[in-house]
């Protein structure tokens, strides 16, 4: 209706609305694509969820801004025979596997991979299967990577194998991906071109199943990068939206509604009730908000519901009680309320249907403006290490980044991504709130 027409006069408010819409979209996207349990599980950072992820690397799109590209992460099931990128040579006989998988990949980056891993899975009764792998470099070297028995859950990390290290006379990855002449130099020369990984597997029992996956950890990952536990940061960026928004919205709404109702009730009944509310407010206003919250977080519970509850309880009896009271005193004297008493309206009806609606327009802008401050509060507590330990949130990311020295190590993405989302949220609600303030409280418009 004409609220929207008025709204259109404030371009910043429109931008704010669009930003809020985007954040809400992110929140919905998060909830729909990654169900809550799934998000909590992923955020625990279990090996089976994170083994393909490199550690502490920025998002892939940083390559758009670089001349020297960072290597991307990749992984492939070598034993997946549907896959056309892998050439299979099958010498199996009598139900005993004897296969050679050849996989070629281009390497044109100017930094080294973080790690290369071979993951093997197999089933055997008595005799272990055998695995052997070589890498053929663009300059024709044929480097034996590994040969030996395969345990049922086989993991071979290139950089942690001492034999491989000796063979290439350097760190394994560096040794393979550099020219052999420069390997003794301080910064060896990276050898670009096509590399070939040849993997042979053999089994010595019938009915043994073998799978081998090649996982290469690059220097960039995903849309948001990874953290120190190899977790995909995008999980926390996405889920930070619904958690932050819900926290902010419930806190802001809950506090406004309760404060308003209590203030109206006190004003309406007057006398002892009013006095009591006033005194509670005065005492509460002297209580230090953040220290109490920190104490609750430290000694009682870090659960987001506990923190939300305490936040609301501590904020109900705020100075707003007095601000609203001043208005309610005026409203109470309105003769429309007197008329309502004459035709028999109950106290409750008068408070909720005659007093509160009058103050709501005055309240809405403040409510909108206070949403981001509670989003920030939740983030701040997380930054202070009092976030709900299970939940992936924006504040948690900043906290992790901070405790892991992200800024010292120039891992800016880790802090900037959540910080940017927080700032956008703050701006969006502020822009809408200020416009609403001018619309609902037109006297401010002149100033």
């Amino acid at each position: 209706m004409n609220l929207f027409k008025q709204f259109k006069q404030y371009p910043t408010a429109i931008i704010g609305l669009i930003l809020i819409a985007i954040i809400i979209f992110i929140a919905l996207y998060a909830i729909i694509t990654i169900p809550y349990e799934e998000a909590v599980r992923l955020w625990r950072g279990n090996e089976e969820d994170t083994y393909r992820n490199p550690q502490k690397v920025p998002p892939v799109w940083v390559n758009l801004f670089r001349k020297d590209k960072f290597p991307e992460s990749f992984s492939i099931y070598l034993t997946d025979e549907e896959n056309k990128e892998v050439v299979v040579e099958d010498n199996s006989e009598d139900g005993l596997i004897n296969k050679t998988y050849t996989y070629k990949f281009d390497y044109n980056y100017s930094t080294y991979l973080q790690e290369i891993i071979l993951y093997g899975r197999n089933s055997f009764q008595e005799k272990q299967p055998f695995i052997e792998a070589f890498i053929i470099t663009p300059d024709g070297r044929n480097i034996r990577v590994v040969n030996g028995g395969m345990s049922p859950k086989y993991v071979f990390r290139f950089s942690q194998d001492s034999k491989l290290k000796r063979r290439v006379k350097s760190d394994a990855i560096k040794g393979i991906f550099s020219t052999p002449e420069s390997i003794k130099n301080e910064s060896p020369e990276l050898l670009k071109g096509e590399y070939t990984l040849v993997t042979k597997v053999r089994s010595f029992e019938e009915n043994t199943k073998i799978s081998v996956e090649l996982v290469a950890h690059g220097r960039v990952f995903g849309v948001a990068g990874t953290d120190h536990l190899r977790r995909d940061i995008s999980i926390a960026l996405l889920w930070g939206a619904p958690i932050g928004l819900t926290f902010g919205l419930i806190a802001a709404l809950g506090i406004s509604i309760l404060t308003m109702t209590i203030s109206a009730t006190g004003t309406w009944f007057g006398g002892f009730v009013d006095l009591l509310i006033q005194r509670i407010t005065e005492v509460n206003m002297m209580l230090p908000f953040l220290p109490i919250l920190i104490m609750v977080g430290t000694f009682y519970s870090k659960s987001i519901l506990a923190i939300l509850g305490v936040t609301i309880m501590l904020s109900i009896f705020s100075s707003s009680i007095k601000t609203y009271r001043a208005t309610f005193v005026q409203i109470k004297q309105s003769t429309y309320i007197e008329a309502a008493k004459v035709y028999g309206a109950s106290n409750r009806r008068i408070i909720f249907r005659y007093m509160l609606p009058k103050i709501i327009p005055m309240l809405i802008p403040g409510l909108v403006l206070s949403i981001p401050s509670y989003v920030f509060l939740e983030a701040s507590l997380a930054v202070l290490g009092l976030g709900d330990p299970r939940l992936p949130t924006w504040g948690k990311l900043i906290n992790d980044a901070h405790t892991n020295g992200a800024l010292w190590n120039a891992e800016y993405y880790w802090i900037l991504e959540p910080a940017l989302l927080l700032i956008i949220t703050g701006f969006a609600f502020a822009m809408v709130g200020f416009a609403l303030d001018k619309i609902f409280n037109p006297r401010l418009r002149e100033q």
Partner: protein
């Protein structure tokens, strides 16, 4: 109940006193404002009375006490033989559907955030009209009754979209929608444009006749009492000093205060408010420390030394149902 004789007593006020405590620092009393201090009168079925008196004499306090908004300090108000101070919850509910209140400032008297429909629906909902269709019908009827027509043009509107006169019609509609028997109109036209005052008074007069309402009409403008009042009560400093049928009082005022009031309003073309201030001369007395004897004696040109300033006059009947509280008529 109502169909005995036509002149049955609807409302009976006996020695009513309404005092407001003056609070010191929010507690402790430093005296009382004696807004109503010994008021007696009977109001009959279908009767309409006017109460006149200058600003601050206690008219509104008297009405609000009758409406149950203030508690009397002493005395009683009896509505259809029931003392309203002793009402139980169910009596209160019943009473709230019996009395209608038309206030002075129509814009303040209706909630600005409610549509006209909602404003009129509230009393119906509160008084147990459960059927939505019935409520709608009654709202439409009453809007028609107060001539807010065509009804469809008004029913969805909000108070700020209406003129003062139209707002006051909404207030009147609300005061009769429960089929109330007693209407209290506290200066219903004093805030309105001079051009619509007569229309609104005519409307009240018409409704009074049509529904046989008992009406208490409060005003400080004597020129408007003729519209629909049968008797006039003159109020001074918390008391009724003269009660008489309209024609009798206007033709033959007895109390010196009434005479002074009438002189003020009969000035042919003077702006009423201005003259009103000059005559009668002097200020009304303090309601916290009212003077001994007759409360008017300090301003009275005919006061009897040693009597008027010592002893309170009682009510004297000068005949023709004309009562006056003045020692001149003992």
């Amino acid at each position: 109940m109502e169909n005995k004789t036509e002149k049955d007593v609807v409302l009976s006020v006996k020695d009513l006193r309404v005092w407001f405590e003056l609070k010191k620092f929010g507690f402790g009393s430093s005296g009382f404002v004696r807004a109503v201090d010994g008021v007696n009168f009977d109001l009959h079925n279908r009767e309409s009375i006017a109460i006149v008196g200058e600003s601050g004499c206690g008219k509104t306090s008297l009405m609000k006490t009758i409406l149950g908004l203030y508690k009397p300090r002493e005395g009683s108000i009896t509505y259809l033989n029931k003392n309203i101070s002793k009402f139980q919850k169910s009596d209160l509910k019943w009473y709230s559907s019996q009395v209608g209140y038309v206030q002075q400032d129509p814009f303040d008297a209706i909630a600005p955030f409610m549509s006209i429909r909602k404003i009129l629906e509230e009393p119906l909902i509160i008084n147990g009209v459960k059927n939505k269709k019935e409520r709608e019908d009654r709202i439409r009827n009453v809007l028609d009754e107060v001539r807010l027509t065509p009804v469809d043009d008004f029913i969805e509107k909000y108070p700020h979209m209406l003129s003062g006169g139209q707002q006051q019609r909404v207030v009147i509609a609300r005061a009769i929608i429960l089929q109330q028997h007693l209407l209290v109109a506290d200066e219903p036209v004093s805030m309105l444009d001079a051009s619509v005052r007569v229309e609104v008074l005519r409307l009240l007069e018409k409704l009074q006749e049509k529904y046989g309402l008992a009406v208490i009409y409060i005003t400080h403008d004597l020129s408007t009492v003729r519209y629909f009042s049968e008797r006039i009560f003159v109020m001074y400093a918390g008391r009724l000093v003269e009660k008489a049928p309209v024609d009798d009082l206007l033709a033959n005022p007895k109390h010196p205060y009434t005479i002074a009031l009438l002189t003020a309003t009969s000035e042919p073309d003077a702006a009423n408010a201005k003259v009103y201030k000059e005559i009668p001369p002097g200020e009304p007395p303090s309601l916290v420390h009212p003077p001994p004897g007759c409360r008017y004696h300090e301003r009275c040109s005919k006061k009897i030394e040693g009597l008027c300033d010592v002893k309170e006059p009682s009510e004297f009947d000068v005949g023709n149902n004309h009562l006056v509280s003045c020692w001149l008529y003992k």
